[in-house]
Assembly symmetry: C2
Homo-oligomer: 469 residues x 2
Amino acid sequence: MTTSSELTHFFKPDSVAIIGSFRKGFFGGYVIVDSLLQGGYKGKIYPVNPNYEQVLGIRVYPSLEQIPGDIDLALIMINARGVPELIKQCADKGVKAAIIIADGFAERNEQGAQLQEQVQQLAKQAHIRLMGPNTAGVVNPIDNFYPCPYEAGYHTIQKGAIALISQTGMTNPQAFPYQDYHCGVSKICDLGNKCDVDECDLLEYLAEDEHTKVVGIYLEGIKDGKRFLRVARAVSSRKPVLIVKSGRTTQGAAASASHTGSMAVNDAIFDAVCAQTGVIRLDTFDELFEVPKIFATQPLPRGGRFGILTITGGMAVMAIDYGAPFGLQLAGMQPQTASFLDSIFSGSGHMPVDIGPMMAAVRGTFSRYHEILDALMADSNVDALLHIPWAHPSEDIIESYVRAYENIRGRYQKPVVTWVYGPSSQAVSELAYRLERMGFPVFKQLETAIKALGLALQYSQKRMASDAQ
Amino acid sequence: MTTSSELTHFFKPDSVAIIGSFRKGFFGGYVIVDSLLQGGYKGKIYPVNPNYEQVLGIRVYPSLEQIPGDIDLALIMINARGVPELIKQCADKGVKAAIIIADGFAERNEQGAQLQEQVQQLAKQAHIRLMGPNTAGVVNPIDNFYPCPYEAGYHTIQKGAIALISQTGMTNPQAFPYQDYHCGVSKICDLGNKCDVDECDLLEYLAEDEHTKVVGIYLEGIKDGKRFLRVARAVSSRKPVLIVKSGRTTQGAAASASHTGSMAVNDAIFDAVCAQTGVIRLDTFDELFEVPKIFATQPLPRGGRFGILTITGGMAVMAIDYGAPFGLQLAGMQPQTASFLDSIFSGSGHMPVDIGPMMAAVRGTFSRYHEILDALMADSNVDALLHIPWAHPSEDIIESYVRAYENIRGRYQKPVVTWVYGPSSQAVSELAYRLERMGFPVFKQLETAIKALGLALQYSQKRMASDAQ
């Protein structure tokens, strides 16, 4: 039984003990203490190791029992063999939760699996909640809690509405450039071998978390299928839950057994589970960072009629083609919108709005860009908009786009997805950065932009259908 | 009937006439002349327009007939209505080929379709080969020929072995950051409305092109199905041909009709065509720039046993899972390779080789990285290698990786695909750049790296099967 308050000890502890080596390097206790300090953690930090006196100006205690205060959370990175004894010490000390970063458990071999079983039993008896083993742990940007065991080279992440749960450290700061990720994050958690806390516990916790609007999950397997069905359905009806699951093939399943000791779920069954629970299944790891952005920043679409404003006709064809299986269809256009566009360039008043020919023929097209974008957003035929701007290094063009988005910002209850392309990676990045900072998601691939919009539509339709019941 | 020599006029003309406006701007004759000059074109340049005397220091002729020399190629960017008359002038002047950049033809309306038909007939009578209309034209980096009608902000592209044919200008320099694309290009061609030169002509031309090792194509439709079957099969048996095709859905097909006037092919039929001809079908536009890299730079795999060297166990699980449907399976390991790895860190001597735990436990792991990579490449169980390095901002790590690749370069007839990840976008880009400059393709997504390897395996197997017959 999990209660939200129990998991709070993992994400918002008042005090943490770090048990491990404090030698400077890419990995270890030193990195955690450094990361906690630089990330701005306000709670108490207790490094534990009999061979050190001090690390980064903080006193190191020879053992847990000599720590003067209470400990909410223990971060454990010692050799696996020593972990059972340490859990006993945690029990004696009244530690409430522990993250076992150490590896060498069920993912390694049979001996490791026995060790994991032993650790799990000891913790259970002492009412200590465990995360891991074999995990990179958690991050909570909202409360400036960054207990990162791997050196990332930066120390804070933009606060936001996306929670990421993962059965790998690949969503933790050392693996992903959160500094260049313009969409903020509420929580990150690597579940590791899931000997205690699992995806269902986290889902229940995040359903209650006021900062989290969407949950993205990478899983190798499901720990408790029955509970997952129940919890996933309940959480999905409140917040979108997006999952990438490996172990689709027998080869992949075998590999995940040796990675986190997971038992894989038959893939067709998992598809059925997603359909039943309303969980949205993603296909690639990259999508885990891309698709949640629409849910975190945009209103849900009320229908599938999407407008397209583009400077390339070819990509509009791709977008329409790719969107159709999601139920997206090219929007029509009100007469006043069409006549407005035709007044700028005859023949342009229809969807998709391809301003390529207009740009080539009419000087000053860009100075009217904000009017064009606004006209499409205001059109009652348009439920959502795909925008494909051309990020040319010319400052004028980029400013025209930014001005157009500033003009529509907050004025329409319709989602906008953007794919930026162009001859300069730097200009593409700059425009993407500026738009995302304004709250408009920009996707790295056109197909992902359309997919995000399509999944938002499907989620919206399910929610509307169940709200109507 | 196409002969290679006819298409040479498009890609390697001795003289070009540019008929259009020479007003400075993002688009037009001015941009073409500028691009030809800055790209280093050595042939004769004849701008044509009665309202100008000079552009960028070059004489502008009032009409084609007043040009003193012969003209291999005419680049036409005047109003569609004037194009038939201009083609007559081209005929009188003995122009050999013309690229009609102008739009407003079959993609616009019925009137435009009639105009296109008229232009086509006139050119045919005069034995002028046509590209377009409604095209951004061609680029030939090998011969420094950059007749770009849209301003890209840069002037040359790295020379290489990838040819890109497209039914959109989205593969031309103004749309894609070729400056940051580390894999070189041999030819680029936007087919536009394909009133004459089509995908089959280009395929036949590129099959003979000594600089082209792989052809990537974006199509909205096939002009001549029977011929395509024959040509695609013949070319595929010599060089890999990769195609992204839109118009998969009825909505997408309708959209492509108004984009380039294309008749779409039923999608299931197109799949069958690919299977019959050996053409490799891609799914996304991004893949068109990613997948060809393996064919351009790496030997074909002789079998599907792939080794993995990774610093993240989770991504190895994903890779194995994703690779299985392509026929890729995790390689085994020779005893001497296993004992070498175990000598560095006990328990690491098995596939996938996860150096994460080794790195955490053994100081100086990175100083031995070149030995580790080399041991895997040398292992006779390994037909191909997936490498997943962690691009941490630390200069030491990046240098260790670079040294490891330098060490294996040119020594093994086995493909290597790389996916770089890490906490710093800049470090990821830097490592990717350095590896690609050495000839090792680095993919933006793990899934694309595996897909590229899987498609190379399938192509290799087909080639081996047909060679054996």
